[in-house]
């Protein structure tokens, strides 16, 4: 916890800067000419219909997908430049990623999954590591399940364990891929609340991919909406502004459509 504005590795105009990014798989372009930046301590939600490239964009920022063209800076490092490998290693010391299914290591217990990063990348004494693991697991309400293997967890518990692991090193940036998916509404709201606490107390910059309307409202912050047809950003700004957008595609994303029941009849 410290004063805002002294965040790590700001360059250009943000802790994350995406410039003229085009990314895809093989010859298939998923996103074209994407430009945006994220300020330290900001919450950015990436919205859009299924298949519009939200997860692809997140993976590009985390260095898991190489862009076709364009540049990305993360925590002061250009991860797409000539020394991309070194820059990525440096940038990854300051990021955490919550994958959609948790991505826990199956051969380790929940506690061991969370402790692994501390054991591998720090020289903290074991007693301190144990306290930090206790702390993180209690944050996600999994301290009673620390001894379980991932195979013994429900989908929601896996996601919470993944969240504990992703934030164990107090990253400057936390990328979350659909944090609410697969969770019941109450648990999803708890995860939203936890993300807000992390942002408030630790100043962690949050980049959240989601299409959960309740999460979008809870997390507030700034949003960018991607569109599969244009392969680009069709709206950007506070959530309230997007909801009142003139663009029908943007507006319809937020509208809860009531489905008419078919008339009874037939067999």
């Amino acid at each position: 916890m410290e004063e805002r504005g002294t965040g790590l590795g700001q360059t250009k105009s943000g802790i994350i800067v995406v410039e003229n990014l085009t990314v895809g798989y093989g010859e298939t372009v998923v996103l074209k000419d994407i430009n945006f930046s994220v300020e330290p301590g900001e919450i950015l939600t990436i919205l859009g219909a299924s298949g519009c490239g939200k997860s692809t964009l997140l993976k590009a920022m985390a260095g898991l997908v190489q862009p076709m063209t364009g540049r990305i800076w993360v925590a002061g490092q250009e991860i797409t430049g000539e020394n991309a490998e070194e820059a990525l290693t440096a940038a990854r010391q300051h990021i955490g990623v919550l994958f959609q299914s948790g991505a826990l290591f199956e051969s380790l217990t929940v506690a061991e999954n969370v402790a692994l990063l501390l054991q591998e990348f720090t020289d903290l004494p074991p007693e301190l590591i144990k306290t930090m693991v206790q702390l993180k697991l209690d944050l996600v309400d999994l301290s009673q399940h620390a001894h379980l293997m991932p195979g013994e967890l429900s989908g929601g518990m896996k996601k919470r364990a993944g969240l504990a692991r992703s934030m164990v090193l107090d990253p400057k940036i936390l990328f979350c891929d659909e944090p609410a998916s697969g969770l019941d509404p109450a648990t999803a709201r708890e995860v939203d609340a936890l993300l807000l606490e992390l942002n408030a107390f630790l100043g962690i910059t949050l980049v959240v991919v989601t299409h959960d309307l309740a999460s979008i409202d809870n997390l507030a912050g700034r949003s960018i909406m991607l569109d599969a047809a244009t392969k680009g950003i069709i709206a950007s700004g506070p959530v309230a502004a997007l909801k009142a957008s003139d663009n029908s595609v943007v507006r319809s994303f937020f509208q809860r459509q009531v489905v008419e029941r078919p008339k009874e009849g037939g067999n």
Binding site: M1, E2, E3, E106, S107, T109, A111, E112, T122, D123, L124, P125, E127, L128, K130, T131, M132, V133, Q134, L135, K136, L137, D138, L139, S143, Q144, A146, H147, M149, P150, G151, E152, V168, L169, D170, E197, F201, L202
Partner: protein
């Protein structure tokens, strides 16, 4: 970073800078560890010059508080800023939650042995159930060919059979050569090198050919079945088949086992021929035994029983390797690690069972003079 003063038996520690992960280790060894020896009646932490705090710093302060409570040292904080206080309270609340247990308590030796033995008994019982299903469903499907998933069967035959031929032929050639190198000195003692042909033909056709074929099938196909079906289990594809009333044995297991029962004997014959060929060529090169002499001697010693014992072994070995591979796949638990475990088990169990059956066959064939 810190200055320690002793005044009237109390310890005052002036903390400086960021209490974070980078400093936590040095603070642990400079502050926490010595405290276990000095045990002052009172410890005051001064936060005047502290500029930041993270989880590691909060964890350190929590452990320090725990240590003080255990050894009766009164701990207090001084000049903790209002910016840091809420964070520290938030972290302290979660660090003081229900203690975590990192590992399940390990049962005693008797319990572990009992679990192991019971697990193996259950495993054997489940395999026998699958074997029973196969023995019932297999003939039914053969008698009603329209129920055979012919496309799947032909695909599996191509995969397990055709795909194994190059590897099998190469290894069989080498096996034939190996037998000549190993046997040539002993055979020379009999005065006539042509007896090497007897050794190669009998050993290859009755034992080495079927066994080598079975080992290759276990490693290639048994493992592949276990991995494929295991991954299907993880992806809930097996559940999807069951819920739509598919017969898992008929749909998944039978085509694979039948494919190995067809490919097994054919590959065994290929292995036999190639092994004998390898022996013949090596005899000519290493022992100057003409190929014609080798073949003439081979013909005299080679009988129908050498062929059908190989065919029987090839068919039965193929069936068991297929059943074990499919069984292991269906037994996959949760997680990618389980797929690996079951795949390995499919190979090891397959080879073990093949060698056991081979010994049994050898005894039976010997009894009947085959």
């Amino acid at each position: 970073m810190k200055v320690v003063q002793q005044a009237a038996g109390d310890a005052v520690v002036h903390l400086r800078g960021r209490l974070d992960r980078a400093q936590a280790t040095s603070l642990w060894y400079e502050l926490v560890e010595p405290l276990k020896q000095t045990k002052p009646p009172r410890l005051i932490l001064d936060f005047t010059e502290v500029t930041g705090l993270d989880t590691a710093g909060a964890a350190l302060l929590h452990n320090l508080a725990d240590l003080c409570a255990k050894q009766g040292t009164t701990l207090s904080h001084r000049h903790l800023s209002e910016t840091l206080r809420p964070f520290l309270q938030y972290m302290e609340e979660h660090a003081s939650g229900q203690p975590t247990t990192w590992a399940k308590p390990r049962p005693d030796f008797i319990s572990r042995f009992g679990e192991w033995a019971w697990g193996h008994l259950q495993d054997t019982g489940a395999f026998l159930r699958l074997l029973g299903d196969f023995l019932v469903a297999g003939p039914k499907q053969l008698l009603h060919p329209q129920r055979l998933h012919l496309g799947e069967l032909l695909y599996q035959i191509q995969l397990v059979g055709v795909g194994a031929v190059p590897l099998l032929m190469t290894l069989s050639l080498l096996l034939g050569a190996l037998m000549v190198f190993q046997g040539m000195n002993s055979v020379s003692n009999f005065g006539n090198p042509v007896y090497i042909a007897d050794m190669v033909v009998i050993a290859v056709s009755r034992e080495m050919g079927p066994l080598l074929t079975a080992v290759i099938l276990a490693g290639r196909s048994g493992a592949a079945f276990a991995a494929e079906i295991g991954t299907m289990k993880l992806n809930e594809e097996i559940d999807a088949l069951e819920v739509h009333n598919f017969d898992i044995t008929g749909y998944l297991v039978l085509p694979r086992v039948f494919a190995l029962m067809v490919a097994g004997p054919i590959l065994t014959m290929i292995s036999d021929v190639t092994g004998i060929l390898g022996g013949m060529v090596t005899s000519e090169v290493a022992m100057q035994l003409p190929a014609a002499s080798f073949l003439h001697e081979a013909q005299s010693v080679f009988g129908p029983s050498d062929i059908y014992t190989g065919l029987i072994k090839g068919t039965v070995f193929g069936a068991f390797i297929g059943l074990i591979g499919c069984y292991r796949g269906l037994r996959t638990g949760m997680g990618a690690g389980s797929v690996g475990i079951q795949t390995t088990s499919a190979v090891v169990t397959g080879i073990f069972v093949v060698i056991f059956l081979d010994t049994l066959f050898s005894y039976i064939f010997q009894m009947y003079g085959w």
